[in-house]
C-alpha cells in the first residue's frame, strides 16, 4: 500500500512540477508521472502475486467521511493495466509534446488524469471513489479541449463528453447511495456486509443505476455517443489513456458493484450486461469498418472490444450461481485478460496514430499511404498491434478471445434458457465482430501504411522521436507476451477473477506457458504454434529465395495500359469500406448526396459534379438529437418568463413567498 501511495505521491509531484519553466517542464513532469506509474505497477503486481489485500484509511484528507483505499487483486489488475499505458504515455509525451499540450495547465491535467486513473480501482469508499472518479472526468474533459484553437470539433466533443460523464456520475452516486440505505456506512466493507439485507427492488434499482453510469463510461451502445467524438480530439497520449484505461474503469465498476458488493444479484442483471455488450461489439465493429479517420476508427474499435469484455463479464455473472463456478471464473478471467490485452494493443495503436498525425499532419486514412517506407518502426508496431486486435494467433487478442469463447461455450452445460440464449448471442457477436474488426484494421494498415503516399504530408513524413518509438514498443511487447506465453500471467488474472467473484475456487486453467483448461476440454499452446508457424514461414522464404526469386521479373503495376498512374488511383479507405456500408445501410444510415450542375447550353454536358458521402452515428442522429432539440425548445419557452427585468424576478420571489406562506398556514 505504501508503494502505491508513494506512486500517487510522485504523480502529485508531477502535477506540481508542471509549473516549472518551459524547458524543464515536460521531461521533469513526465518522469515524475512515469516513476509514479512504475511504483503503482510494482505495488499492484505484489498484490496480484501474493493475493493479499492491503488497505489504508485516514480522516485527514476528506474530513467528513475519511479517505479509504483498499488494494485487492481485482483493483490491482486494473492498476497494472493503467500503469503500463500510463508509463508508456509519459515516455511518449517527452518526444511528442509540442504546441498546446506543452502548456502548464495541460501537462498538470495530464498527470492528474493518470493519478486519478491509478487511484479509482483502489478507492474503497463511496466518497473516495467519487472524488477520483470526478477528478478523472474533469481532467479528461479539459484535456479534450486542449487543442480547441485549431479544431472547433474539440469544443463540441468536450461538451458531449462533459454532459454524458456528469449524468453517468450522478447515476453512479445515486445507485451507490441506495446501497447505503440499510447499515448506513459508506465504505465498501460495510456496504458488502449489509448488501444481503437490502430488498431485491433496492438492489436491482441500485445495480441498474450504477450500470447506467459505468456502461456509459465503458462506451456501451447506446450510451457511447461521446466516445467517438472525444477520443479522436484529445492529444494522442491522452487518447491512449482514455481508450485503454478510462473506459476499463467502467468495466471495473460493474464488476466491483455487481459481483463484489452485491454478490452477483440475479441473472437478468447480467443478461442485460451481455445485451449491452453484444450491441456495443457489433455497432462499434461496424462503424470501425466505415471510418476513415484513423483515431475515430480506433475509438469505434474500443467500443467493440469493450463490448466483448462486457459479454464476458455478463456471462460470468449469469453463470456464477449455476453448477459451474469454474466456468464463471473462466469467463471473468477472459474479460480481465482482454482488458489488459486491450490496454496494450489499443494504447500502442493510439500512440501510433499520434505518431502518424505528428509526422504527416493528418489523421485521414485517405490522405496517408506509403508510411512503411518512411516510418518503419511505427508501422511495425502498428501492424503488430493491429494483428493483435484482429485476434491473429500467438498475439494477445487471440489468447483472450479464445479464452472468452471457451468460457461462453462451456457455460452451455447446465445454463437456464435465458442464459443459454445470452451465451449464444454472445458467441455469434464474438464471431461477427472478429470478421468486422479484421476488415477495419486491414483497412487502417493497408490504406494508411502500405502502397504509395497520397499527399505531400505523407511524402514528407519521417520517423518520430526515439522516446515515442520506445513507448510504442513497450506496449507492443505486451501484445507479444500475453499472446505467446499467456500461461505465465494467467495465475495473476485468476487471482483478480477470484477476488472479483469473492470466491476462492481453483484456477480453471492448468499451469504452464499455454492455456490449458484444467477441468474442461480445451487447450492451446501459442508458443508451440509460433514455433511451428515460424518454421513454415522460414522454409517458404528459403524455398522462395532459392527457386523462385532468381527468375522473378519486376515490372510496373498493371494499369490497363494507362500512361500516367498516380497515387490517387489507389484503393482508398472510403472505397474499401463501401461494400460493407452498402450491406449494413439499415444500421449505419449513410448519407450520400450528388450535386450535378449542367452547362448553360445543354443538359447533356455537366459543368461540375459534387459527391458527398458521410456516415454519422445513427444512435446520435435518431436517439439523442430529438432529446437535445426538445431541451432547447423547452429552454426557449422558459425564456419567455425570464425577460431580464429585475422587477419581474422580484415579483416572482414575492409570489413564491406568498404561496409558501399560504400553504404553510
Amino acid at each position: 500500500m505504501t508503494l502505491l501511495l508513494v506512486g500517487l505521491g510522485f504523480c502529485l509531484l508531477g502535477v506540481l512540477t508542471s509549473a516549472l519553466p518551459r524547458t524543464y517542464r515536460v521531461p521533469v513532469t513526465a518522469s515524475c508521472a512515469a516513476l509514479g506509474c512504475a511504483l503503482a505497477f510494482c505495488a499492484a503486481m505484489r498484490v496480484l502475486v501474493t493475493g493479499d489485500t492491503v488497505s489504508f484509511h485516514t480522516t485527514l484528507i476528506l474530513p467528513l467521511n475519511g479517505f479509504a483505499m483498499t488494494l485487492d487483486p481485482l483493483g490491482a489488475l486494473f492498476i497494472v493495466a493503467t500503469a503500463l499505458v500510463g508509463f508508456a504515455s509519459c515516455v511518449y509525451c517527452i518526444g511528442y509534446v509540442r504546441g498546446e499540450l506543452q502548456s502548464r495547465s495541460a501537462m498538470g491535467l495530464f498527470v492528474a488524469f493518470i493519478l486519478s486513473l491509478l487511484a479509482v480501482p483502489a478507492a474503497s469508499s463511496i466518497a473516495t471513489l467519487m472524488l477520483f472518479w470526478e477528478l478523472m472526468a474533469v481532467s479528461s474533459m479539459l484535456l479534450i479541449v486542449v487543442e480547441h484553437r485549431h479544431r472547433r470539433e474539440a469544443r463540441d466533443a468536450a461538451l458531449w463528453y462533459g454532459v454524458m460523464t456528469q449524468l453517468g456520475a450522478a447515476s453512479i452516486l445515486l445507485g451507490l447511495l441506495l446501497l447505503t440505505l440499510r447499515g448506513g456506512g459508506q465504505t465498501f466493507t460495510e456496504i458488502k456486509s449489509h448488501a444481503d439485507a437490502l430488498s431485491p427492488i433496492v438492489r436491482s434499482s441500485a445495480f441498474m443505476l450504477v450500470l447506467l453510469g459505468f456502461a456509459s463510461k465503458a462506451g456501451a451502445v447506446p450510451l457511447h455517443v461521446w466516445l467517438p467524438k472525444a477520443h479522436p480530439e484529445a492529444p494522442s497520449p491522452v487518447s491512449a489513456m482514455m481508450s485503454s484505461s478510462m473506459v476499463a474503469m467502467g468495466v471495473y465498476g460493474i464488476i466491483r458493484v455487481g459481483d463484489d458488493l452485491l454478490h452477483g444479484g440475479t441473472v437478468w442483471w447480467w443478461i442485460a450486461v451481455v445485451a449491452l455488450g453484444t450491441l456495443s461489439a457489433l455497432y462499434g465493429a461496424l462503424h470501425a469498418t466505415t471510418s476513415t479517420d484513423i483515431k475515430r476508427l480506433l475509438a469505434y474499435s474500443t467500443i467493440d472490444i469493450l463490448g466483448l469484455v462486457l459479454i464476458g463479464v455478463g456471462a460470468a455473472g449469469a453463470l456464477r450461481d449455476t453448477g459451474h463456478p469454474a466456468v464463471a471464473q473462466l469467463a471473468l478471467m477472459a474479460a480481465l485478460l482482454l482488458v489488459v490485452a486491450h490496454a496494450g494493443f489499443k494504447g500502442a495503436l493510439f500512440l501510433g496514430a499520434g505518431a502518424v498525425e505528428r509526422a504527416t499532419g493528418t489523421r485521414d486514412l485517405d490522405q496517408l499511404g506509403g508510411l512503411i517506407h518512411r516510418m518503419p518502426v511505427t508501422t511495425t508496431i502498428f501492424a503488430l498491434s493491429a494483428c493483435s486486435i484482429m485476434a491473429v494467433p500467438t498475439l494477445s487478442g487471440f489468447s483472450s478471445e479464445w479464452l472468452l469463447l471457451q468460457g461462453l461455450l462451456h457455460g452451455f452445460t447446465d445454463a437456464s434458457t435465458p442464459t443459454l440464449i445470452a451465451l449464444l448471442v454472445g458467441i455469434v457477436a464474438l464471431a461477427l465482430t472478429g470478421g468486422l474488426t479484421a476488415v477495419a484494421f486491414v483497412k487502417a494498415l493497408g490504406i494508411g501504411f502500405l502502397g504509395q503516399a497520397r499527399t505531400l504530408g505523407a511524402v514528407n513524413a519521417t520517423e518520430v522521436a526515439p522516446t515515442m518509438q520506445i513507448a510504442m514498443a513497450l506496449l507492443g511487447a505486451v501484445s507479444i507476451v500475453l499472446g505467446l506465453v499467456p500461461g505465465l500471467v494467467v495465475p495473476l488474472i485468476n487471482r483478480a477473477a477470484q477476488s472479483g467473484l469473492s470466491r476462492s475456487t481453483m484456477s480453471p486453467l492448468a499451469r504452464g506457458t499455454g492455456l490449458v483448461l484444467a477441468q474442461l476440454r480445451g487447450a492451446i499452446q501459442p508458443a508451440f504454434l509460433f514455433v511451428g508457424a515460424a518454421a513454415v514461414l522460414v522454409a517458404v522464404w528459403l524455398i522462395n529465395r532459392r527457386l523462385v526469386h532468381r527468375s522473378a521479373r519486376r515490372v510496373d503495376a498493371w494499369g490497363c495500359g494507362r500512361d500516367v498512374q498516380t497515387a490517387r488511383m489507389q484503393y482508398t479507405a472510403t472505397s474499401f469500406g463501401e461494400p460493407l456500408q452498402r450491406v449494413f445501410a439499415d444500421v449505419l444510415r449513410p448519407q450520400s448526396d450528388v450535386e450535378l450542375t449542367h452547362v448553360a447550353e445543354s443538359r447533356y454536358y455537366e459543368q461540375s459534379l459534387k459527391y458527398q458521402n458521410q456516415v454519422s452515428d445513427a444512435v446520435e442522429q435518431f436517439g439523442y438529437r430529438p432529446v437535445i432539440d426538445a431541451v432547447l425548445r423547452g429552454g426557449k419557452a422558459a425564456r419567455r418568463i425570464q425577460n431580464g427585468s429585475i422587477h419581474r424576478y422580484l415579483a416572482f420571489g414575492f409570489v413564491a413567498l406568498l404561496v409558501v406562506l399560504v400553504v404553510l398556514a
Binding site: 521479373r553 515490372v555 510496373d556 498493371w558 494499369g559 495500359g561 494507362r562 500512361d563
Partner: protein
C-alpha cells in the same frame, strides 16, 4: 412412357432423348514449329489488344468467339487482364498512341507467352502502313508466333489458327 413418345421429334423433351446436332469437329491443324503445344494443355487465355485497328478484325473475332464458330469449345477464351493471359491477340497496325500501352501490356504478360497477330494490319501493316499516325508494324515491336492474314480474316480462319495453338 407413352407421354414421352407422344411428344415426338419436336416435343419439349427432345433435348433429353436426342443427341446434339453438331457433328464432330475436324482434326486440329499442326502447331507452328516454334511453339510447344504441350505447355498450353488445350487451353488458351488471350488478352486482346487493339493497337490501331479499323474494328473490322474485332467484329470477326467476336464472331469467331460467338456461337457459330465457337472458339471457346476448342479452349480459347478472352480474359480481362494480361496478368491472367497466356498470350496476346493483337489487331491493327501499331499507332503512336498505342505503342506505349503495347509495351506495358507485353511487360505485364507472364512468360512464356504467345503473340497472335490477327489481320493484315497486324501481320504486315496492311493498308494503313504508311499513314501519318502509324509508328510501325507489329514485328518491329515484338515478333508474332502466329499470323492470321486477311482483311478482315474470316472467323473460321481465326478459329483454325487458334486451334493450332490449343491443339484441340
Amino acid at each position: 412412357m407413352r407421354g414421352s413418345r407422344r411428344s415426338g421429334k419436336n416435343g419439349p423433351l427432345r433435348s433429353l432423348f436426342s443427341r446434339p446436332v453438331t457433328g464432330p469437329s475436324p482434326e486440329p491443324p499442326e502447331p507452328p514449329d516454334a511453339l510447344n503445344k504441350a505447355r498450353l494443355h488445350g487451353s488458351l487465355q488471350l488478352r486482346h489488344i487493339d493497337v490501331g485497328s479499323c474494328n473490322g478484325c474485332e467484329l470477326e473475332i467476336a464472331s469467331a468467339l460467338g456461337p457459330k464458330y465457337d472458339a471457346p469449345q476448342f479452349g480459347v477464351r478472352l480474359v480481362a487482364s494480361p496478368r491472367h493471359a497466356d498470350g496476346l491477340l493483337v489487331t491493327g497496325v501499331v499507332t503512336h498512341n498505342m505503342i506505349g500501352p503495347l509495351h506495358q501490356t507485353l511487360a505485364a504478360l507472364p512468360q512464356p507467352s504467345v503473340i497472335v497477330a490477327c489481320g493484315d494490319c497486324a501481320v504486315n501493316g496492311g493498308i494503313f502502313k504508311d499513314a501519318y499516325g502509324v509508328a510501325g508494324t507489329l514485328d518491329e515491336v515484338v515478333s508474332p508466333d502466329v499470323l492470321i492474314p486477311g482483311c478482315p480474316p474470316h472467323p473460321a480462319a481465326i478459329v483454325q489458327a487458334l486451334r493450332s495453338l490449343t491443339g484441340r
